[in-house]
């Protein structure tokens, strides 16, 4: 089966700074892949490189078996969408929810915009009462739901999630994660999810990759992680850190 997303030997460099070096991974259709690592480990850069927001200096990215060039075409954006980390910064401050959702439909020339907007809002659990609000009239969780609705309105098959819940408080986090799980099951979406929270990744993803300094440390399955079957010291360190502070004597 062709993987939904296959990355081979990807490198990203900004001038002299190497943000990503020789990273390879592949995600099966309907799979959910997690990227973990500390700040600056290159996990967000990887997502941005896939989306075309960061320039790849080496390696290839292939979606559904098709290798992407340096310029993405419209068909790519129908297939791959992204949800940003900060819901307070990812919605245009002067546009209503309606306008935000209309924009992708207008760009891609859909004519049943009205139906799709109503449906998209329903799907993410926001009624039509939210349709004509401005983003400053929404809470953080509601904003992230709108961002998810916007990403899904083009019916992509791959969703890139850049720490979608790290800016939200704990109870809202769970809501948004559950919503993403539901949508993935309902639409057979492929997820690539970045997080620094191991618990979130083990909950959401079936496979994951640990990254450090722009390089792969190791790839694991969620089951491996749960069973503590890790081979690298760095991953062990991350695991220990995620369990919180322990008073060893």
């Amino acid at each position: 089966m062709t993987p939904a997303l296959a990355i081979d030997g990807l490198g990203v460099a900004f001038d002299d700074f190497v943000a990503l070096e020789d990273v390879s991974l592949s995600v099966a259709p309907g799979g959910s892949f997690g990227l973990v690592g500390e700040s600056g480990s290159g996990k967000s850069t990887l997502l941005r490189a896939v989306a075309g927001l960061a320039p790849a200096s080496a390696g290839t990215i292939a979606v559904d078996g098709k290798v992407l060039g340096s310029k993405r075409d419209k068909a790519f954006y129908r297939k791959v969408q992204m949800v940003f980390q900060d819901p307070y910064g990812s919605l245009h401050p002067r546009q209503t929810v309606d306008r935000l959702l209309l924009e992708p439909l207008a760009i891609h020339g859909f004519d049943d915009a009205e139906d799709r907007i109503v449906r998209a809002l329903d799907e993410v659990g926001l009624g039509s009462g939210f349709r004509f609000r401005y983003s400053h009239q929404l809470s953080g969780g509601q904003r992230q739901r709108v961002a998810i609705a916007r990403a899904l309105i083009l019916e992509p098959s791959i969703l890139l999630l850049d720490e979608p819940t790290s800016a939200l408080d704990a109870s809202v986090q769970a809501e948004v994660l559950n919503l993403l799980e539901q949508l993935r099951a309902a639409r057979n979406l492929t997820f690539v999810m970045v997080s620094h929270d191991l618990a979130v990744i083990t909950h959401m993803c079936d496979r994951l990759m640990v990254m450090q300094n722009g390089r792969t440390v190791e790839q694991l399955t969620a089951a491996d992680l749960a069973a503590r079957e890790v081979t690298q010291d760095y991953t062990r360190g991350l695991l220990a850190a995620s369990e919180g502070f322990r008073r060893d004597v």
């Binding site: 969408q81 940003f84 990812s90 002067r94 004509f132």
Partner: protein, 305 residues
């Protein structure tokens, strides 16, 4: 009565607008309330509206003809019941000339704003969003225009194009867009890498679409404020060109030209030059007050909530 007013207010301020129109009106209403909270700004608005009223109904309001005076009997008359603001050296009623002159002033101000603001907005947003050599070229052109004093550059253009009110407008417009380009570019640079612009990019929007539909609306409010504050300067530049004989040509009742002709007898018949000077002062003040109020009402940093 008060109950329907309350419900209309609630309809405008609701958290859950039911339609695009309601959402837009609600936003406009919030801005309007913030604007009217500033008393001086309302005074400025009233001055400008009064001037528009005078300009529209000039033929009905002016007591005499602005062009024809009685050279034999009514030259340089003091202000009095027959001529409220006196007459000039051609025996023409100064009040009537002022009223008709408001048309010219408005025409200059509006046309300059309509020509200069979009040019500046387009140049600035395109330069800011495109970056690289496009930015460098556009901004160096802007710098060249900015390097000249406005009036001197306008003088050069009028000298090249020939005197006249139309050419004065073109000259002023050509010299007044660079500051707008600078503002628009600065605003664009602050938003171009924000997530919401990247998100639109990720939808496959073309650069033109992003600039026109997503970046420009964010720059417009600070631009409107700046243009309104510049109106006073535009009026003064137009009056300056008129004063130097390069703007409106006689017998047009342009305020600057009126001051120029009154200059010759300023010591004995001071009102000939004072009346148009006072008119320029009041209108400039009106625009400045209006601009200040708009800044408070439209400031993107203040209006987020």
């Amino acid at each position: 009565m008060s109950e329907t007013a309350m419900t209309r207010r609630e309809w405008l301020l609701t958290d859950r607008p039911q339609s695009r129109l309601q959402a837009r009106l609600g936003r406009a209403y919030v801005a309007w309330r913030r604007f009217t909270a500033n008393r001086l700004a309302v005074v400025g608005l009233l001055i400008i509206l009064g001037m528009v009223f005078l300009a529209i109904f000039a033929p009905l309001l002016a007591p005499h003809s602005p062009y024809v005076g009685d050279l034999a009997k009514s030259r340089l008359m003091t202000p009095g019941p027959a001529h409220w603001l006196g007459t000039d050296d051609q025996g023409r009623d100064i009040l009537s000339r002022l009223i008709y002159g408001s048309r010219l002033t408005l025409q200059v101000v509006l046309l300059v704003a309509v020509i200069a603001a979009p040019i500046g907005l387009l140049v600035g947003t395109v330069a800011g969003y495109a970056g690289g050599w496009v930015d460098a070229v556009l901004m160096r052109i802007t710098d060249i225009f900015l390097a000249f004093p406005k009036l001197v550059l306008a003088l050069a253009f009028v000298a090249a194009l020939g005197p006249g009110i139309g050419n004065a407008i073109i000259a002023i417009a050509i010299t007044s867009w660079p500051p707008y380009a600078r503002i628009a570019r600065a605003e664009t640079l602050t938003v171009r890498n924000s997530d919401y612009i990247l998100a639109v990019q990720l939808m496959g929007a073309s650069p033109w679409r992003i600039v026109l539909r997503h970046i420009m609306p964010l720059c417009i409010s600070s631009l409107i404020v700046r243009v309104t504050l510049d109106m006073a300067g535009i009026i003064l530049t137009a009056a300056g060109l008129g004063f130097l004989g390069l703007g409106a040509q006689p017998p047009l009742p342009e305020w600057g030209a009126m001051i120029a002709s009154g200059r010759r007898f300023i010591l004995d018949q001071w009102w000939v030059a004072a009346a148009p000077g006072f008119a320029i002062l009041v209108v400039s003040l009106g625009f400045n007050l209006l601009g200040d109020g708009l800044r408070d009402a439209l400031d993107p940093r203040g209006s987020g909530q």
